[in-house]
Symmetry: D2
Subunit: 294 residues, 4 copies
Amino acid sequence: MTKVGFIGLGIMGGPMAANLVKAGFEVTGYNRSRAGVDRLVAAGGRGANSVGQAVRDADAVITMLPDSPDVRAVVLGEDGVLAHAREGALLIDCSTIRPDVSREVGQAAAAKGIQALDAPVSGGEQGAIEGNLSIMVGGAAEAFETAREMFDVVGATIVHVGGPGAGQTVKAANQLIVAGTIELVAESLVFLEAHGVDTGAAIEVLAGGLAGNRILDRKAPAMVRREFTPGFRVELHHKDLGIVLQAAREAGVVIPLGAAVAQLMAALEAQGHGALDHGALLKLVEQLSGRGQE
Amino acid sequence: MTKVGFIGLGIMGGPMAANLVKAGFEVTGYNRSRAGVDRLVAAGGRGANSVGQAVRDADAVITMLPDSPDVRAVVLGEDGVLAHAREGALLIDCSTIRPDVSREVGQAAAAKGIQALDAPVSGGEQGAIEGNLSIMVGGAAEAFETAREMFDVVGATIVHVGGPGAGQTVKAANQLIVAGTIELVAESLVFLEAHGVDTGAAIEVLAGGLAGNRILDRKAPAMVRREFTPGFRVELHHKDLGIVLQAAREAGVVIPLGAAVAQLMAALEAQGHGALDHGALLKLVEQLSGRGQE
Amino acid sequence: MTKVGFIGLGIMGGPMAANLVKAGFEVTGYNRSRAGVDRLVAAGGRGANSVGQAVRDADAVITMLPDSPDVRAVVLGEDGVLAHAREGALLIDCSTIRPDVSREVGQAAAAKGIQALDAPVSGGEQGAIEGNLSIMVGGAAEAFETAREMFDVVGATIVHVGGPGAGQTVKAANQLIVAGTIELVAESLVFLEAHGVDTGAAIEVLAGGLAGNRILDRKAPAMVRREFTPGFRVELHHKDLGIVLQAAREAGVVIPLGAAVAQLMAALEAQGHGALDHGALLKLVEQLSGRGQE
Amino acid sequence: MTKVGFIGLGIMGGPMAANLVKAGFEVTGYNRSRAGVDRLVAAGGRGANSVGQAVRDADAVITMLPDSPDVRAVVLGEDGVLAHAREGALLIDCSTIRPDVSREVGQAAAAKGIQALDAPVSGGEQGAIEGNLSIMVGGAAEAFETAREMFDVVGATIVHVGGPGAGQTVKAANQLIVAGTIELVAESLVFLEAHGVDTGAAIEVLAGGLAGNRILDRKAPAMVRREFTPGFRVELHHKDLGIVLQAAREAGVVIPLGAAVAQLMAALEAQGHGALDHGALLKLVEQLSGRGQE
């Protein structure tokens, strides 16, 4: 399998597609704005003027889009992926969307003789560029095996977590833990500052024990410096927590901490901080505590 | 400095004292129940029949006690450490207690010409036995340097985080993050189970990304198996979250997630699960979600 | 205006339609199950075999249905209200549904020359029987004036709160306050019982001060007796809090207490208590606190 | 019984003492600052220069003080009430303090042959002036009967709720419900404003149904106008919620909504709004939602 149609050549999709080109895949890409396509062509890929043109001859179609409605439109739409992809092709959706939409896409694909995987990723722009994303994959085991050679190019931790939608469900859990951990670290840092403790030393010792986590390692120093350049934007995490809450509600699972941190992320978004890094939850704890400039 | 008086030879203090003996320190130990003293003697230390006897000739006194009132009684009490320790001795309190009590102890010690450090630890019984605890130390830099040779015997990550009480403040933050992370992992696991996802695979991929943390590494597999043998008991974590809430309140710091998880830990305690491992927060999420046997 | 088509003759709609008959309106009713129609006929109304038959000659059409999809189907559906009602008729939807669906219905109606009001009610079965419901009405002032004579028959407090959807928005706020107040009263009652206080006396004195509210007046005594026969069912309140959360999210409004109580109501529902009265939030507080039989 | 010693002649105690004078009681008052004493003398009472002088000949001693430490000092202190009051006198503490401190006071009083009641009040300055406070009384039934003639002068709803400390426990529940209800109303008002709904009309219809409560009746209009002149100050309600949380913790009662609103009140206090009316919780909801000027 060598021909890949790639839809969505943005911050994440662009470098992923480029890495596939570099690894020897024949990648034809389409993006709503032309710049993404031009970058792919410069990297050695082919450009397409439409979804149909990108996917027509593809053995595998990879989509990397912002939200559920985008995936619905691009995959299920009149002139979309399923209307043009050939029978027997494989559809790999790397977008972070609602699990039920992934299942809906999977069923629509199956009806056309196309196997589908939901394969959301974690690791950010840097992980996409370096090709060491974590990939949580839902769908048929057979399709997972077929996709493996492509996943190996773009990711480092690649796990088949279950049937259709399972990748999205795990990604939702991922976003719940990440948001909650950022908030816990933010509360701790403001608490330590208020008590006059050296936060640099505290981060070191906290990271060494049972409290250790990736947020302490990768984000806490920037949070202490009040640097909130994304990284991962508040507005996207806010969207993702909406998916978490809905999926929990549908499954009858009670998530008190998830619901609480979703309100805090919603506050950041409502206050106009949607374009900041999600580490900005620290700003909110500061504001609530009457500390900092605002 | 070689003579150490050690008060509190329980699950944590016992192995810590034994490690000091093994490293060549002359340790005289006292414990309320005789069994702890006997174990120390068997390990090559000396036994004392009272706090006074244990600390009279000591260069350094180490205390490892359950809660603030215990430390107050043992250190400040009529027949306590400060009544018997010699001027110039060093007091190292490894208990997890209220920061304000640590500061009170420090001042009372200073008035007797005794330097004090608050040095709570993280790492559990296993860390105490293996001598690789994380130690968060508050107090004077000079006293920290003096204590260093002892800390190096019992710990692996040893950080001086600030003045008197700062060690306790960082330990409080540690307990806030640990409790919150356990709850986030618990909500995620029940969420994943409810959606029929393979939790073993999910834990693997979650641990590989930004959601990665020590709870996923060390506790999640036992939580999935519903094994809640401590480890660290709910009743102690419930006590510690009381310290967190009080210290946050006093400093005017707002900790919405900390307050929420404190209610959940209080629920476990109220339901009679105080002797279980704190990973039992998963039981509560299950119960709230109408899942599991209860 | 005297001819009324009434769709949805259940616990609420049935007595409302009967009261309109009693007041002299010519009411033709339709209900999915025949029993509701039969009761209306027994009360002096006319029965219809379809939505179309019920609304064809009506000056006003009143709908009282469980949820948003029901209203969409009955009003917008192929053989629905808008397909059969005559131009110039007035549509009054008394269901509690999503504000955006009310606005969608309003626009679709306007396109057919039909004016629409959203007019959710509060007051329960008893209020419907006694004709003293609270009615919160959204839509055009002129349509409100036209509907007034019908509202006066079924309600006591009748307020025009704004344009299309505003009635639903106020009803959402109503359900937020009601759920939250029940939970506050539940927490207080369990707190008082745990402290051995006479709850009957406490309810009396609490009701007399700034803490006074309708839940203390009408529900607290039954809650103390653990009587949870509805009244208003947990499953419906759970649905309504879903509307509240979504409408708050869309408007960028942060509702920490609303989000917290929504999790608690979701827990009751998940535990299989959906058919109990919403006062059963007390059961949950008891369970969390390790009190009561379960 | 006619001679009353009254300690604490502030905003609440001043008018209560004056009403007792007016009703024919012989009141001797003491206050830390002289102005309170002067006002009592002007109203026809007697002034005292010390606690001892105020209570020496009294049949009943009434205390109205800010917090637990004040009551401890004034009642139990070296030169306090119990040191000077005669055997057989009745002590009525109207302060809002911790239930355990009330019980401690009761025991100390009993040891001196003095009966004690805890009798916190609700109703604010206006209720104190008009003599229609709600009074929640803990202690012996016999003592309650003796105190009745005084309660009837200062209060309208007077209920004996249980043994020593029970009055404080009910007052704690009162403060929990009041704070929570204000927050629910605040969330609802911001929600309604964000959706462009006429809040005046909404308050009217909400007050008429199951959502009806005293906060809607008495505080919501001022909240809509952003008028936060106390009334009851945030700093006092913050203190009271501390009592609620501690009393719930001691009794093993889980209060998720109580804990959440306590964080919000703590935020207002931390932001420097301690002197505003507790209705200012609306400011916080606005701030979180990115609305209003700040």
